[in-house]
Amino acid sequence: MASQAFAQTGRLFRFAIKKDWLKIFLWLLGVAFYVFIGVFVFVEVYGDPAEREALSYAMQNPAMEALFGRVIGQNNYTIGAMYSHMMTILGFVLFAIMSILLVVRNTRSEEEDGILELIQAQPTGRIAHTTSAILLLLVTNGLVLIITAALIIALGDTSMTVEGAFLTGTIYASAGLFFGAVTLVTAQLSSNARGAMMLAFSVLGISYIIRIIGDGGVPFLSWFSPLGLLYNTEPFVNNYWYPVFISLALSLLLTAFALYLKHKRDMGAGLIADRDGKRHASAFLKTPVGFVLDLIRTPLIVWTVSMAMLGITYGSVIGDVDSLLGGNEIVSQIIANQEGISMAEQFMAMILGVLGIFSSVPAVQFLLRIREEEKKNRLEKLIAGTRSRYHILGTFFLISAVIAIFMQIITSFAFGGAAVVMDFDVDFLKVMLAGLAYVPAIFVMIGLATLLVGWLPRLTSLIWLYLGFVFVNLYFGELFDFPQWLSALSAFHYVPEIPIEAWSWTVVFGLTAVAVGLSVAGFIGFRRRDID
């Protein structure tokens, strides 16, 4: 009977490629772009060993190590070492997300939609649908490996050896496979796609946090995070392969466990029981705002907690920056290039910017929820009611805007609070002000999303592309020397970096005006267009 369980895996796999190839292709394009940018820019911009050394010192502080991982190969900070250090952790997260989405999309989502029921009523094995998803995961991550290795070999300098290139590709793929395997299990635990995804993202988040604590001074902890574990391969520096095998073995175990659960359980069932719901709609739920808030309740809680934790994490290390790097001359030249401003403040400005971008993710996501409702044909029920279209989009818009402010307050408060508790020399009010300074920029982001909802409803995901650009611009803009006109396209570019720069009402009003303009245009479009 065992072989029967896999029956038709091949056919389902070919079919999965047919329906999923475009998404996978776009993701792989993103992977190629990520690797290309890293290798190309490091080779082009950081040819000078002295500059690289300076940067390696600059990176050697808790805040940076929390984000990128501990500095590796510092005594010989080659382009290869620099690439491994700066690009690995971020890459892991990116590829993990790719694999999590791929697995949920091809397993629990189809089960929830009832598609799996039709497939399994055919002469297909009980786990064939899952094994086909596993094949898809393997092939996709295999391509990640090949693309990464090929690009590094093609574009890298002499420090980027062939072995290192393959190891880099392998750890990217291993991270994808590991989190794909985690998702295979969570897809069995939760009875719905969203739950499976949330659980998988929680594992990713926890892995990231364990790694931060590990790299923050408890090295053995890093080994317990799949991200830290694979980071310890140190491609181009030491080329350790054994963490890869540990990771692959764990992935294999998780996969086997997932298949065992799938084979045993009922269609549509999850191992985590669903709770009973309420019998009646509360008075709050019956109001438009209450209704939308209820829709986004769980993600809102998750986002609030995550942002607070991020704020606390960064806030609790920010003060160390001075003591760690204060004595280093080269670093002072590069980082604290402005006289009279402490290193901590410079880092603070940068970190708050990053947190501001993170805050805009839930704000935009919750606005786009209206598209989700529309695609599921639920929006028509709302519009068919007595509420006008302005009223409905306005509700989503208002909540999105309030959440933007709320998130910024939470993160700044957590950040500043943690810094104050740690007794660092940080002005709490200035931190709050710095956080709030980003709110108009987030408004522009929401305005742009509204515009897309109004005029290009099928292309609303373009907003994430813009968000990615804003992030790259803020993070790497100066590192990679982006031209001025390009940076000018980012709303975040204009926000004053408090405490380095001063609060500017001009910027606040300017950005808000742009946001209002975009939003109004979006509202007009939404009123005029057809509902899908």
């Binding site: 094995g125 269609m267 549509g268």
Partner: protein, 299 residues
């Protein structure tokens, strides 16, 4: 008759709710069985157990003499299934999905038959599934099922979303596959459809089969509606234990008679000079309503 499907004492618990308490029935070769019951009675659960999608906690279910859970793949080569709510991949066309389902059966796609069905159901297979209405998605599953050379067809409210004309096409197809010796299990809320199509009926209520047999057999179990008029007054008909729901209207008496007590009633009413007597045979609907009311705590 050769038994194709055998179900005995099926039980299934979901969390705290016992979805199936005791489900038993058989389906013979070439038989169409109507599987009816109120929402939540356990129809879909039973069908999903038959398809090996969920596992029964107790009892046996077999198709072609094989265990529905362990031999699902073998069984499914000769079984076709259409659920009441068909969801499909949004970015593929209906035609592609039909071909996929047929190819999974290991059969060569019989193009002529497929085209014939597409024509009969007036279906456009070149559109992407995201654009199909509920009825059209339903047609995808129906066409794939009827194009397959199956020996057992399992339909779970297959005509929900179809217009009356398409419903008729469905019935015609169902009769055709029956004619070539296939069996059909039809779960439906459209009782007229079941009445026209089915040889036998199994009624499920609260996880139990409460009635099963041929429609004729079942009619004996139920009540006949009687309308009569007499010259002389009839003393308290309501006191007789064969009479139910007695009502008087325009000098006529209307009541429900236990079908096997006809002789008793005639003897009872004979002395009072009957001027009018009408009897209406019970419809499936009456049968069904009786059990439906039971689940609501009536009778």
């Amino acid at each position: 008759m050769e038994k194709v499907v055998e179900i005995k004492g099926l039980k299934k618990v979901f969390g705290k709710t016992q979805a199936l308490k005791d489900v038993s029935f058989d389906v013979t070769k070439g038989e169409i069985i109507g599987f009816i019951g109120p929402n939540g009675a356990g129809k879909s659960t039973t069908l999903r157990i038959l398809l090996g999608l969920i596992k029964a906690d107790d009892g046996q279910a077999s198709i072609f003499g094989k265990d529905v859970w362990n031999d699902a793949v073998e069984i499914h080569k000769r079984v076709a299934y259409v659920p009441g709510d068909v969801n499909l991949w949004p970015n593929l066309t209906g035609g592609e999905v039909i071909d996929l389902f047929l190819s999974m059966r290991g059969q060569k796609v019989d193009k002529e038959r497929k085209e014939e069905l597409i024509k009969r159901f007036e279906f456009d297979p070149t559109k992407k599934c995201r654009g199909y209405s509920k009825g059209n998605r339903q047609k995808v599953a129906l066409i794939a099922a009827f194009a397959a050379d199956a020996d057992v067809y399992i339909f779970d409210e297959p005509t929900a979303g179809l217009d009356p004309l398409q419903e008729r096409v469905f019935q015609k197809q169902a009769r055709e596959v029956k004619a070539r010796g296939a069996s059909i299990i039809l779960s439906s809320h459209i009782l007229s459809e079941v009445e026209q199509l089915c040889d036998t009926v199994a009624i499920i209520s609260q996880g139990k089969i409460v009635e099963s047999g041929s429609l004729n057999e079942l009619r004996h179990l139920t009540r006949t509606q009687i309308i009569f008029k007499t010259k002389e007054d009839v003393p308290s008909l309501a006191d007789q234990d064969f009479a139910h729901n007695v009502a008087h209207e325009k000098g006529e008496t209307i009541f429900q008679l236990d079908s096997d007590k006809m002789a008793e009633f005639l003897r009872f009413v004979e002395p009072y000079h009957v001027t009018k007597l009408e009897s209406a045979p019970p419809k499936l609907e009456d049968l069904f309503m009786r059990h439906y009311e039971t689940t609501k705590g009536g009778v």
